[in-house]
Amino acid sequence: MTETPGPVAAGFACLSHRKLILLLALTSLVLGLSGAAPLMPTFKKVLSGTLAGDHFIRNAPTFAPTDFFDLMREKGPAVEGAMRATGLAGVLGVLLQMLYAGGIVVVLGRGPFSFGQLFEPARRNFWHNLKCFFFFAILNGVALGAWLGGGVALRKKFFENAPPDAPGRNVVFWVLAVGAVLLFAVISLLYDFARAARRHAPTIGAFRAFRFARRALSGSWLRAIALWIFWFVLGGGAVLALFAVTWSLPAVSRPAIALLILCQFGVLWLRSAVRVAAWGSYLALLEPRARPALSAIARVKLTFDRTPVTSA
């Protein structure tokens, strides 16, 4: 008898898909470079062509911050260009993730796979994922908007004359914040499971996929949310910890700069790994629930005998 690993173990097991993780990390790197590209000529001219680079890397008091502010002002168009390019890279990143997700939900947890096996369902499921995203966005807008908007309005009404440190204010703030995170978690899980529906029903539509997700998660919400929080906290914590390492590296010498860049790529890799592991977990959770959920939402097909009735 083969023991089925739990969702968390299944998630960690997915870390063996190194090429997939690398693909996600490299995608982030390329998008990051695209976002930074408009600033590169400016950096070449200012950091390498004047003493500003010297002040920056030495972290010279007064000189470095003054040069930084002057750079932001004098090279404003380049900075703005980089910010816009980064914004566009973000949009592109979201679209690429939707594309990858279409393949990931099909191939992950089913043994080794080639990029061809990943990209074929990715391409096929892209529009499905895009439609799911719109449901996801609408659900978030409505649910979070109502929760936060209503909550803030009520808080203002009930605490208008309360001092800023009144305990009630803090309690309501945390209730609102935690509630918002949980709402987002619920909608995210629905979204992920709706996309994962294509693992078991390759032609399922977006609307029905959400119904499938709701059915699949029914009775397992606490477990699913716990899983979501687990990866959110673990992944977020690990990424933040490594980010803190990169932030604290002074990196003046060439080897130190090389190490810094390595660590920076490590952060991008780590976030990618957490992403893959989380998918692996969700798919493992879904696996035993998929078939009943599909059955529950199956259309009742009625067939009619359209042969004209003739009298004998």
């Binding site: 976002g35 950091l47 390498s48 004047t50 003493l51 008091p61 003054t66 996801f136 003046v252 810094l260």
Partner: protein
């Protein structure tokens, strides 16, 4: 820099430079121009005050004064047609005026009687001395039946009623927290002929403007106020009595030689009292440093104890120690460098988060800080806002409180000089990242922020303008505060720290308890330093001149060998790139020029309007540095140097002495062909920060994965 040719002025300058200790603090005018005795009571439910005021005003001039003028500042919040509200649009200092019926505030003067019982109120009328807001009621003109004779006096009994506004622009209430400032009928300043450059005596009593603060004569205050006993109070001056009766308590505060009085009441305030003890609270080494700069002994600049009362909001306990330490730092720095704080008390009020509009304000011996709960927690703990605001507001005890400049007309003399003092206090107390320090050793200092604000400004106004005459609020703020900080730092760098510190102390000592003007500032500094500072006044304070020295171009290449026909030793010789050749002969071998000689050409230019010198430095690859002084009158200077090494980099003003320089990014040029240290690190910086930018952009795309 030119030195003044006037011999006597130079001698005077020398004397004051060498003997700063001779400059004694100006004594308060005695008897004072004004004496206020005020009694008032607070109705916390209605947010009102009922008050009576006994005012004795002494005519400081040789004129017979036939009318009096009063500031009724609270009428600025009476409606949206006041000058203040029209100019501010109901928004100021990040705060917004309330618009509910109970949010408006005003002051009604019911009666003004002379000591002879003559009622003057019916003849009084509102005037608009600065403009055309007919609804503005912030200045009340009171005609007198009998003029106040030259150097004579008049006593008035005034009855008034106040409705406090919802906190906006420094004063008012929120819930049951009250910050009561500019709350009583306050007489304007009658300036005699000669005062602040006046040709004839007259009232200086402006309307309350959005971008202006206050101006008043020094005097004595005796104020009694009654509040419910559950309220904790604080006020200008020293508490001399506290009388509880029928659930209310009457407090009496007195203070001589100040020009305003403010108080606060709040039942929730946490009180911390401590004494500033010079023996233990002056930071180590400060006294010796100040004495050395000022040319005085430490005993000559010794400080006095001060009783400090901190009124802290519940929930702001994390700010307690920060308030205490920064108050001590402020008392130490200003006291040592300018003169000991002359009052016995200081009250520091910490406003609540929903009353921050009353924060960051100064009144004599009474200041308000800013410590919103959010910034007291990670990740904002590296922001020294509590320290910065406390030191700045305490500094106003000197630059406005003691040196009583006209904040309406010359805001730079109080806000600006105080900003300069604040910058130096912050730098000395908290080091090179005084405003913000982040993990990883990053951070920002006050001077860098000041330069950024200055450089970002459209440069529409000079520093010296009336406070409401600036193009907009940003221009007022930058010109009155940060630009002055830069100007004073420039002056300090040019004069040297000792001459500068002595001049500033001389200015403070000479003009304490007086009303100096811009001319008085420059006169004192010129007398103290023996220098002609007119270029600073003309270009920086009264003008909008910029300074922008830059490296326009820099190149370095192998020096050419001789080429052509030269007459040497009486004989014509033909050279081809350093090689002697016969006429018609082609060069056979490689040129034999001296490859170790390079020609370097560097062009420095000043594209700003201000003619001011700078130092130029040219650093070669072999480490040799050549320094040259660029004369102030030059628009550009070109250096052509033949030297055995290539130029690594050229920089103008390498030590950033010219803080007035508009753009520091063009101050240097690193040659692409160079191999000097600067070039090497510049390349590394380019790689490092390009990687950082790509990294942050990549992380941003990953954050968005939450959507994908």
């Amino acid at each position: 820099m030119k030195t003044r040719g006037n011999f006597s002025a130079r001698i005077l300058g020398l004397v004051t430079f060498l003997l700063p200790a001779l400059i004694q603090a100006a004594a308060p005018v005695s008897p004072p121009v004004v004496e206020y005795t005020i009694e008032t009571s607070l109705d916390p439910k209605e947010k009102t005050l009922e008050g009576t005021e006994r005012l004795v005003w002494r005519n400081p001039s040789g004129d017979a004064v036939s009318e009096l003028r009063f500031h009724l500042y609270l009428n600025a919040f009476k409606n949206n047609r006041s000058t203040f509200m029209r100019e501010s649009g109901g928004q100021l200092r990040g705060d917004k005026a309330g618009t509910k019926p109970e949010d408006w505030g005003w002051i009604d003067v019911a009666s003004i009687k002379t000591s002879g019982g003559l009622e003057l109120r019916p003849g009084a009328r509102f005037i608009q001395p600065d403009g055309n807001d007919p609804s503005d009621e912030t200045v009340l003109l009171v005609p007198l039946a009998t003029p106040v004779p030259p150097h004579g006096e008049i006593a008035l009994d005034i009855a008034f009623h106040v409705k406090l506004p919802k906190i906006f622009a420094r004063t008012g209430f929120v819930r049951d927290y009250f910050l009561v400032g500019q709350w009583y009928p306050k007489i304007g300043v009658y300036e005699p002929a000669g005062a602040r450059g006046r040709k004839a005596g007259g009232w200086n009593c402006h309307a309350f403007h959005a971008n202006s603060e206050f101006y008043a004569d020094f005097g004595n205050f005796d104020v009694t106020f009654t509040v419910p006993s559950k309220f904790v109070v604080g006020a200008t001056g020293k508490r001399v009595s506290e009388t509880p009766k029928d659930g209310k308590t009457t407090y009496r505060y007195v203070q001589d030689n100040v020009h305003d009085f403010a108080w606060t009441a709040d039942p929730r305030t946490l009180v911390t009292e401590f004494t500033f003890d010079p023996a233990t609270d002056v930071p180590k080494g400060w006294s010796a440093k100040a004495a050395a700069e000022l040319g005085m002994t430490e005993s000559e600049i010794a400080l006095k104890p001060v009783s400090v009362r901190l009124l802290l909001q519940p929930g702001h306990e994390r700010a307690r120690e920060r308030y205490i330490q920064s108050a001590k730092v402020g008392i130490s720095y200003y006291g040592l460098w300018y003169g000991a704080y002359p009052y016995e008390t200081l009250t520091v009020v910490d406003p609540p988060d929903d009353g921050l509009g009353s924060g960051g304000m100064e009144y004599p011996t009474f200041i308000t800080g800013i410590a919103p709960n959010l910034i007291l927690h990670w990740p904002f703990t590296g922001l020294r806002l509590v320290e910065n605001v406390t030191i700045h507001e305490f500094g106003h005890e000197y630059w406005y409180g003691l040196v009583g400049s006209n904040e309406f007309e010359e805001s730079w003399l109080d806000e600006g000089l105080n900003t300069d003092s604040e910058y130096r206090t912050m730098a000395l107390a908290y080091g090179p990242r005084d405003m913000l320090h982040l993990p990883g050793g990053l951070g920002v200092d006050s001077m860098a922020i000041a330069h950024a604000l200055y450089a970002a400004l459209p440069n529409l106004d000079p520093i010296h303008r009336c406070a409401w005459c600036y193009a907009d609020g940003d221009s007022y703020g930058t010109n009155s505060y940060t630009k002055v900080g830069l100007f004073m730092a420039q002056l300090k760098n040019d004069l040297g720290v000792r001459a500068f510190s002595r001049a500033q102390r001389a200015y403070f000592q000479k003009w304490s308890f007086r009303h100096p003007s811009t001319s008085d500032f420059f006169d004192t500094f010129e007398q103290s330093t023996g220098r002609d500072l007119s270029t600073y006044r003309r270009n920086i304070v009264d003008g909008t001149s910029r300074l922008d020295w830059r490296v326009v171009s820099a190149r370095s290449r192998e020096a050419d060998g001789d080429w052509g026909v030269f007459t040497r030793d009486g004989k014509k010789t033909t050279y081809d790139d350093g090689v002697v050749v016969e006429a018609g002969e082609k060069k056979k071998d490689e040129p034999k020029k001296d490859k170790d000689i390079y020609t370097t050409v560097v062009l420095f230019g000043n594209t700003g309007e201000w003619e001011h010198g700078a130092k130029a430095r040219m650093v070669f690859e072999d480490g040799t540095a050549i320094d040259r002084d660029l004369p102030g009158a030059a628009r550009w200077v070109r250096y052509r140097i033949r030297y055995k090494s290539r130029l690594a980099h050229a920089v103008v003003d390498p030590d950033r002495v010219n803080v007035w320089d508009w753009n520091h990014l063009n101050d240097s040029r690193v040659l692409a062909s160079g191999k000097g240290a600067a070039k090497t690190l510049g390349d590394r910086a380019m790689v490092k920060y390009s990687a950082w930018t790509a990294y942050l952009a990549g992380l941003w795309t990953q954050v968005l994965w939450a959507l994908a």
